[in-house]
Symmetry: C2
Subunit: 168 residues, 2 copies
């Protein structure tokens, strides 16, 4: 390695500077890491729910939103539970079939549906919610102090640019 003449500005040698494009590693790529982490959590969550209650994540989201917000339309679920409307519609149909919710036409605007928990649906939620809270608690415990940082980051990512709430 020859040295540049004295008057030329000395630059750091490139030899041991790895090209960030050449050395690109998926394992350090933020979008990948976020997707992989979410997939793991969702899978663990879905397994517990399927085994114990026989419901899927889309169904869980519909139930949870109904429990929180009372009678709502499919459109509400699309917006508030982050699901494409056909996904919400199908999840609602399965839940109706299972007897956990009812569908009724809204008499004020008959384009809208009124989805509502049945007594069985409410009973199911009383069993499910403690499990959900426990799951979340385990997750926070595992995260330790990093939980706050995660919350802050998710606030940012879920905030403004709300592209049409599509599916997963």
């Amino acid at each position: 390695m020859t040295r540049p003449p004295a008057q030329v500005t000395v630059l750091p040698p490139d030899d041991d500077v790895t090209d960030p494009l050449e050395s690109f590693d998926l394992a350090g790529f933020l979008p990948y890491r976020l997707a992989a982490a979410a997939a793991r959590i969702s899978r663990a969550f879905a397994e517990r729910y399927r085994e114990e209650f026989g419901i899927s994540i889309p169904e869980w989201r519909v139930l949870a939103h109904l429990h929180h917000a009372g009678p709502v339309s499919v459109r509400d679920i699309e917006a508030r539970a982050d699901m494409e409307k056909s996904k919400a519609s199908r999840a609602a149909s399965r839940l109706e079939q299972a007897g956990y919710i009812t569908k009724a036409v809204n008499n004020t605007d008959r384009r809208l549906l009124q989805l509502e928990l049945t007594p069985q649906g409410r009973a199911l939620m009383r069993r499910i919610l403690p499990v959900a809270m426990q799951f979340q608690a385990e997750m926070r415990e595992r995260l330790g102090p990093a939980a706050e940082g995660l919350d802050a980051a998710l606030d940012v990512l879920l905030k403004s640019p709300a592209p049409p709430p599509r599916g997963d």
Copy 2:
């Protein structure tokens, strides 16, 4: 409901204590928030890649891992790119069809495949990687100081309990 006799310990009134189960809100539920945020990011990422390069996220992951690690087997991709093996296998087939990778049998162990980038595959990566880095940079910029917290949390979530690397 009859009142207990007077000598029973008087408990604080429940009236203004909101039951955390009754008031449960999906919007504050960590697993949901993580899944929703990841879905948004992945969607934005997938859109850019599909429009600009015609590849999907599974295909991007295979390409990225090949670029980083050189010739690898499907099993390697399953482990290192967090994809169920049939997903990895199909993504690899599509990439082979498109001329971006080759499949060859490993002569040392003929159960294994050797997936390898073609010159076209390497050329594609040279175009894609700057876009990926830019996407990540925009994400970090948007996160601001929360980016560090997110990294720390993802470290935890992706660390130990590595359940069999399934799909998304």
